[in-house]
Symmetry: C3
Subunit: 349 residues, 3 copies
């Protein structure tokens, strides 16, 4: 990162400069691992102790943050120091910013349509009739199948595979190793223990502003479309089966799996290593803790769930914590039984 | 898909045409999302309500399906409407059907042997002495290592890696990102807390008619072979460790992991996110529910298991459902103890 | 493998030859699946029965192993037959041994620095200012981003992606499909249910002597580095989130996931399908059983844990086994309640 002007940065985020005057920002650091000359931010009160001891010199702070007037730091006040910090980084730091042009070792079908200002790296493959939007960046060794569509300004990292006929929206990011459009897992039993493949003739439709982590598998629909809504964020190694629908702005942590035809609502927050059975409907705003398992519809919106099978999170925490009390509970039951037997004996005597 | 002849389709599946006469099928649709002019099928009685309301015009039905003689649909009666539907799609719809020829940007060792009627896409790599069977289709950016074998008519999608010496059978499908033949996880403790690599000098042998989903990891054997039987179907993101053997026609759902040297029988049905410990023997026909964990041999055939650790499925469902009753059970025990103490006190008085 | 000299092999491992004299080793086999003329080893006493019945002719044995003087086998005595066997294979068997040279179809930035005696396969990509050490082997279709570093003698298999600025140490092995340096999962809620991307401007630093299995996802840090210590061994399909640190010589089995900013100590042994919550500190030498879930710090060193949430392994096994007794426990409580009610009734009469 080249040097940034303090004034320019403050203007970008609509912030006010306070404290010691400084002209340049030399880099970015964390407040508890501050580097002299660098920009950092304070958002989480847990880190407030570092506000004056940090080696960083320019600090983004929230409007209501109290500061010590004797400090020799430069402060930039803003409504939300954390979001402002992200905004600065998204503006100035973009690893693909300098990538441009179509490498002559990329393999592009003559029937593909390629937008303006694209980057297509060496050994990338773009199939017949594929549509690559304006400003798209496709890294080396990516495979884009026939009739696939990549929307404007989407970034596709190395070794991604987008199968034929799949559609990815605008302003997205797809990380390496992710597969979009592999066949759904459909095999009809023939009755003799063997199976016949159920052809998967649908596709995958990914909305706008979606980020998909590395090594995810998103299967194409049997018929129709597997759908990832706008603004969805998927972590790594996630399985999205055929005909799944994920509502807008839902976020899902790593290694979670969603079985076929399940529909997740909007604004859901799903932890890591969660499993969803097939054909479920999960209401908007559902929050699910890590390693949970869902095997029934969630009809009420905005509930917090945990466990396998899931329960309301408070019940689940209480119940699961009690598993370690089971030996104790059994002993208590045994003792009660013994006492009962003794008193019965006594009565008989 | 181009237009299909109703008569030709009926002949292909050995079905009889009934109802309104129609000449052409314009496409494929689901019965509950029917498109005018298209072919659909009715197999699951749950969807019977759509039989006359669907917009689709040609409907595959089972021989015993009752129909309304006033309907203006075209019906094709057959023994198994669902299998017939798959058969039609497998016949007419094949995304790789038009792929042929060896791209001059594929990298193929001069010592490799390449069968007839193959497709090898741009930037695919085929190593020394590798054998590519007749009718094989290898998509762009695939890596086939030295001495590897791909059997006749197998389809290998983009960005797959098949390591040296591994063998894939005939009529298979391997989806993008899958790795066949990476080293098994073998590290011998030296005694000082560090490890020495146990070289993995075996290979992987995949049978005929196998489909492997995307981003699976199938490790080569330490010595000998990791074996995937004929007709096995693996979903996405599955881990198959070194020296595992999977019996013929076993199907496994996404994100399941099988530890080293475990043997699964034939005709097993394994849910998603299941874990198998190492060195187990699992009998033919075993069925395991999602998120289960197995840590012991399953010797009886055709049992249904669930839970972690697994139990017979009925016991497991009953036991796991009771976890949420634990707080209640504890309260009942506490109450009994209190009552007992009171009555004891009373007795002493 | 070409023929090996028995004398040379014995010298390599500092072993003594006993029994029938033989000159050549023709191959490698397992003691229970021995092949005439081949070398095998006996380490696990469970396999001692095969010592004389095996078809293998040359057998590595521990110094204290008793043998039958009438045997017609050739024995090589050594301190640790298993480690010696590994040493022999690592010396003589190395699939990448013959790979050398830079393929003219590799795509290498003119600003990259390439060490001596490297192998860079066809269609591999090496970005601007990347540093490839001496003796490195990079297989076809690998992507090495700008400013990335691959240390001396490291082996990178096909279709791996190493993002910009990430650093891999010496003598490592990275298997196919693994992604190093994808963006950490960071999205700050804007307050309206949508998110703004938190740029991930850190990197990944992998130590020396590390082996990483296939299809792993190792995210770059938000700021600073995600760190994999020296001698770490990762199995397949493992998720390592941003800013995680894994201590030296820790081994982790397949499909385990570690959430952001969690620190694992040195010499840990982690089973498969385990989940770690974020921001945890796990002490050196911690051992965690398969499918466990950790949601709190582990402060005591060298503990053995199991379950979700984890408990000391003995407690966990006892408690989890009792889940299947829950219906029985409930019945016993119900019976006690009934008995209590009866006796109360009686008293009242």
């Amino acid at each position: 990162m080249t040097k940034l002007s303090v004034t320019e940065v403050a203007e970008l985020i609509g912030g006010e400069i306070e404290g010691k005057s400084r002209e340049w920002i030399s880099g970015i650091s964390k407040i508890d691992q501050g580097i002299p000359g660098s920009l950092t931010f304070l958002s989480n009160p847990k880190y407030a102790e570092h506000l004056f001891s940090t080696q960083a010199d320019i600090i983004l702070i929230n409007r209501d943050q109290e500061i010590n007037s004797e400090s020799d730091k430069t402060f930039i006040r803003t409504d939300n120091a954390y979001l402002a910090f992200c905004q600065i980084l998204n503006h100035y730091y973009n690893p693909a910013r300098d990538k441009s042009g179509v490498d002559n070792r990329a393999v592009i079908s003559s029937s593909a349509s390629i937008g303006d200002n694209v980057y297509i790296g060496a050994n990338a493959f773009v199939g017949d009739r594929a549509k690559i939007g304006n400003g798209v960046k496709i890294y080396p060794n990516v495979y884009i199948g026939d009739d696939a569509v990549i929307g404007d300004n989407t970034l596709v990292y190395s070794n991604v595979s987008v199968y034929h006929e799949c559609v990815v929206g605008k302003n997205g990011i797809i990380h390496s190793g992710t597969v979009i459009g592999s066949d759904g897992f459909g095999h009809a039993p023939k009755g003799d223990g063997t199976y016949v493949k159920i052809p998967q003739i649908g596709n995958v439709v990914v909305g706008d502003d979606v980020e998909i982590g590395s090594n995810c598998s998103i299967d194409r629909a049997t018929i129709g479309s597997t759908r990832i809504g706008d603004g969805v964020k998927l972590d790594n190694l996630i399985q999205v089966a055929h005909n799944v629908e994920i509502g807008d702005h839902t976020v899902i942590a790593g290694q979670t799996g969603i079985s076929g035809s399940t529909t997740l609502g909007k604004y859901c927050v799903i932890g890591g290593q969660v499993g969803f059975a097939g054909h479920l409907k999960v209401a908007d705003g559902t929050q699910v803790g890590a390693q949970s398992g869902l095997n029934k519809d969630i009809t009420e919106k905005n509930t917090q769930l945990f466990g396998s099978p899931v329960m309301p999170v408070k019940d689940a925490l209480r119940s699961h914590l009690m598993i370690k009390d089971l030996p104790n509970m059994r002993d208590r039951i045994s003792k009660l039984e013994k006492l009962h037997n003794q008193s019965e004996k006594k009565e008989k005597e």
